[in-house]
Every structure is written in C-alpha cells, then in structure tokens.
C-alpha cells in the first residue's frame, strides 16, 4: 500500500493526480468545518454574489452559499462512486470467478450476458430505468453498478482462468480445502491487483455518470446539492452569474482529472503490464 503510494508519488503525473485527489477530499470533508455558511440556507437578498470572504465561491440563484454546496456535492459524488464501485467489484469478481469454474455452457451464457450489458450505453439505460421506475439515488447507484459488472467480471474471469491449473491451487485442493475456502483465501487475493486498478480507474467514470444524471435532474434529488445539479442550475441562470457554472465545472474537472491521473499512476505502479489490458 505505502509502496504503491510511493511509486505514484515518483511519477510526475501521478503526483499531480494524488495532489488533486487530496485537494478534493480535503475540500469536501474538511472545508465544512471551517466554512460557517449552511449549504441549504436561503438568502434571496444576496443572490448571484461574486466570490468574497464570506462566500468563498459566491452564492447561487437562491442566495445559498456555493462553497458549502460544492462540499456537499463532493461528499455525494465520492460516496456514490465508492458504493457503486464496491457493488460492481464484488458482483463482478464473484460472477467472473464463477464463470471460470462453471461448465462451459454456463460460462458462455455469462459471457453473452456480459456482452449484452456492455452493449447498453449506461446513461441511456439509466434514463430508461428512471423514466419507468421513478428517480432515486439508490437506483442510480444500482444501475451504474450493474453496467460496470462486466468490466470486473471479464478481468476476474481471465485472471481466475490463468490460475485455474496453478500448482499451488491443485495442492490446496488435494489437501482438502473446500471450494469456498479455495476462492476466498487463495483465488481472490491473487487476482485482486488488476481489479483494484480497474476500480480506481472507474472512479472518474462513475463521478461523471452521477453528475450527468443529476445534471438531467434524475440523479440526486434537490434540495440536496450535487455537482451535476449545481452545474445545471448555474447553466439556467448563466446570464445572471457565471460563478456557479465556473465552480461546478471546475470541481468536476479537477475531480475527474485527479482520479484519472491517480488511477493511471496506480496501474503503472502495481503492474506495468496492465497498460495494454486496461
């Protein structure tokens, strides 16, 4: 862990990525301790204020403090990203390993299902589900997770297949280990590296999707702040004040850029050979 972080720090773009990720984390979780403004307090007399000492990023169309709302948006973006990826990672890994050990017909069915899921544009699928079932953060997390499962499933299957006839697994099997013990204790720890890299590279993807859905008004329900929602609200009042759009866009760009650079540096640090695969 510390070795991987050190390797990321030695990589110039990795260093930028790490710094941006830390900046976003600090801003989202620690700035609310310093910033005394409440994220949802209306103050219509002070709409569309430019940045000042009282309001670091200015105020929005209802006079709410933008800096406080951006911090909440950051917490939500990171929360959604982590829970979505945890779900997809768990599901994809288990299904992928299952496919590697299942009879060939079952494996084929699973692979076709992966192809089908991957063939669905995530955003369009999310739109369809929300249109039919109604909006909600839980649905957003679930939909994005389901469409990411093939990502992890394919890699997990390929890794598990390459281990299938490894001598140390045969030895453990001969010693009488149960299939569950074999998978949990021996297969998963040995295939986790590339999956963790993939997970970190999916963080900006999920942040973008959540922000996109919130931008369309079907992600995080108002009045809760989200970067996508803030960008959309700012866009509708662009002629009155450029600040909401500028800061919401900036936060999204810094976060996605930071996590992308961080993920790539992590990939190169853990296993340079993955460069071709991921």
């Amino acid at each position: 862990m510390t070795a991987a972080l050190a390797a990321i720090w030695r990589n110039p773009t990795g260093r930028i990525g790490l710094a941006l990720v830390l900046l976003i984390l600090l801003f989202s979780f620690l700035s609310p301790l310093v910033n005394t403004q409440m994220p949802n307090r209306l103050d219509v007399l002070h709409r569309f204020m430019a940045p000042s000492l009282a309001h670091w990023m200015g105020t929005d169309n209802l006079g709410r403090d933008l800096a406080a709302r951006m911090a909440i948006g950051g917490q939500i973006a990171l929360g959604v990203a982590l829970s979505t990826i945890a779900l997809a990672l768990t599901g994809g890994t288990l299904i992928g390993i299952g496919a590697a050990y299942a009879p060939i017909q079952v494996e084929r069915v699973i692979l076709v299902l992966f192809d089908v899921l991957a063939a669905f544009p995530t955003l369009i699928l999310a739109l369809a589900v929300v249109a039919l079932l109604g909006p909600g953060l839980d649905k957003v997390i679930l939909i994005i997770a389901v469409t990411l499962v093939p990502h992890f499933g394919r890699i997990a299957r390929a890794q598990a297949l390459s281990l299938k006839h490894a001598p140390f697994l045969d030895a453990t099997r001969v010693l009488g280990a149960s299939p569950a013990r074999l998978v949990l204790q021996h297969v998963i720890p040995n295939i986790l590296g590339p999956l963790v890299v993939l997970a970190s590279m999916d963080i900006p993807v999920v942040i973008t999707l959540e922000a996109g859905l919130s931008f369309l008004g079907i992600g995080v329900p108002p009045p809760r702040a989200s970067w996508g929602g803030l960008l959309h609200d700012g866009y509708t009042s662009l002629t009155q004040s450029p600040w909401p759009v500028a800061f919401a866009g900036l936060m999204l760009t810094l976060a996605t850029l930071g996590f992308t650079l961080f993920g790539e540096a992590l990939r190169d640090a853990i296993d340079p050979k993955l460069r071709a695969a991921l």
Partner: protein, 323 residues
C-alpha cells in the same frame, strides 16, 4: 461447419449482435413490468376512472398472459412497430425517426472533428516523440479525456456566447440555411469531440510507435521507402486498428453524450425526445428511443469488429478469430 476462419469470425460476431439485440428487447420489456402500479393507470393519470383504466389495460394487452405479451412485443419490434405515443397517438417510431437525423448529424460531425484533429496530432506525436508538441498533446489529451462532455458544453456556451458573442449557439438554425446550421453545429460537435480527440491522439501515438518499431517497417526503411510514405501508407493502416475499434465504441458513447449536447444547446434530437418524454412518463417513446440507440450502438460495434478483417489481414488466418 464453417471452415474458413474469416467466415467463422463473421458468423460469431453476427450471432453475438443478434443475441445482444434480443436480450436488450427482452430487458426493455421486463422493465415495463417493474413499473409501480398499473401502467395503464400511470399513463391515464390520477383522474382516470377504474373503467377507463380497465379498458385501456385491455387495449394495451395488459390482461393477457406474460409470455403472450412478450411474444407480441417481440413480434411488433421485428415488424418495426414500437407502439404509439401516449400523447399524440402517433407511432413512436415516426417520432424517433423524425429527430434521429439531427442526432446522427451531431454524432458524425463530432467523430469528423475528432478524426480530423486527433489523427494528425497522434501522427505528429509518434514521429516526433519527446517534442514540445508531443508533451503538450499528452497533457491536453488526458485533460480532454477526463473532462465530462456536459462540462465542456456548458463552458463552451459560457466562453463563446456569453463572453465573446462569437458564434450563434442555441438551436439548429431551422430556416437559416446551410451556413447557419453548420455554424450552430460547431460548438455542440466540439463539446462531444474533445474527449475523442484525446483518445484518438493517444491511442494512435502508442500504436504507431509500436508498428514503426516492427521488422517489416524496418525492412521497408532499409529498402529506401520514403519516411512519409512509410508512416502514412504502410504503418498507419496497421496502427489504425485499435483506433477504429475505439471509434466503433465511440459511436455508442457519443449517442449517449449527444443527450447533453442537445439539451445544453437546445437542439432537437433523440436526447431531447427522451428527456422530454421522461418528464411526462411517456414510456413508449422512451422505450423506442432506447431501443434505437442500443441498436445503432450494437451495429456500430459490429461494423468496427468486421472492419478489422480489412485492416488486419493477419486476423482472418487465426483459428480462434480473437483480436
């Protein structure tokens, strides 16, 4: 049965494509089953009488057995009947086909811009590795790839219309002639293309560098083939394979991204159609639009897969046909 590996490859891609389309259709059908409450009641609104709901349920075929409904739905889809718009009563396929050209124009304009800027950038970077432009391009392409396209779209509006007043921004410019329509296409297409300029430049640079190091290129160079011809005729064709594959994926992703460009720039298209339909829960329209997008996405992937055969003659000779 099929002895030629080429035919087997084509066959397996076709079967996968058909399976994807079938599963996608069934999935969309299954989603309508999950709608809370009776879809007929939802469509008719809160003031509908129970009799009206029952009558409309019968019209929609909701009182029939599940498998029969699935069979009818699949049969209708195959015949191109995707249902009727709840509000206007028109066939939804007509609505979709009416706006689809706008989305398609936007998508291909974006791909065009991405190829026009990304390919030369990638070629230059590969033939001048380590140069200032190469390093600048590397940083810029990561930033381009990372930036969500709706952020780009909103920033483009902010810069070019609010601050600079340079380009007409909103709408498609109906009645304004070709020139006006083309001007209004620039910013939306650019907002979609930016990511792909980065992808193409990066990918092409990497694969071109790899191909230029291969033995047959070295041999050709030793025989005195001009460097320009070597890069643009011999190496580029091989190095383009991963780029073409990414472009196949790109068509699908761009169709998804086009929603944002259409909403931000107030253009008609599939995205705006779905967006407006969601607001009033007009789900036959959503269903049809999603089906069309998934169909185009799948066919674009198929086209990319099949184009390998032309681009990479080595592929047809491999027994498993894997890329």
């Amino acid at each position: 049965m099929l002895r030629s590996p080429k035919l087997r490859y084509i066959g397996s891609r076709l079967v996968t494509t058909l399976l994807v389309l079938l599963c996608a259709t069934i999935l969309l059908f299954a989603l309508t089953l999950l709608i809370p409450g009776n879809p007929a009641a939802v469509l008719l609104g809160p003031r509908a009488t129970p009799e009206a709901v029952q009558a409309y349920s019968h019209v929609m075929g909701l009182d029939r057995p599940l498998l029969e409904r699935l069979a009818i739905f699949l049969g209708n889809v195959v015949r191109g009947d995707l249902g009727r718009d709840v509000i206007s009563g028109r066939p939804v396929l007509d609505l979709v086909l009416e706006v689809f050209p706008y989305t398609l124009t936007l998508t291909f304009a974006a791909i065009g811009i991405a190829v026009l800027l990304g390919v030369p950038l990638g070629c230059y970077a590969a033939t001048h590795p380590g140069s200032l432009l190469d390093q600048l391009g590397a940083v810029a392409s990561v930033a381009f790839i990372a930036m969500p396209n709706f952020v780009v779209a909103v920033f483009l509006v902010l810069i070019f219309s609010v601050w600079l007043h340079w380009l007409p921004v909103l709408g498609v410019g109906l009645g304004g002639g070709w020139g006006d329509a083309a001007l209004r296409l620039i910013l939306p297409a650019l907002s979609l293309a930016l990511t792909w300029i980065g992808y193409i430049a990066r990918l092409l640079r990497a694969s071109l560098l790899e191909v230029l190091g291969e033995a047959h290129i070295r041999t050709a160079r030793a025989y005195g083939v001009a460097e320009r011809r070597l890069v643009y005729r011999n190496a580029l064709k091989l190095a383009a394979i991963p780029t073409v594959a990414i472009l196949g994926l790109g068509v699908g992703r761009l169709l998804g991204g086009a929603i944002f460009a259409e909403i931000v720039f107030a253009r008609p298209g599939l995205g705006t159609l779905v967006y407006d339909a969601i607001a009033v829960r007009n789900y036959p329209v959503v269903q049809a639009a999603v089906l069309v997008v998934v169909g185009v996405f799948t066919l674009a992937n198929l086209a990319a897969d099949l184009s390998y055969l032309w681009l990479d003659p080595r592929l047809g000779r491999r027994p498993d046909g894997a890329a």
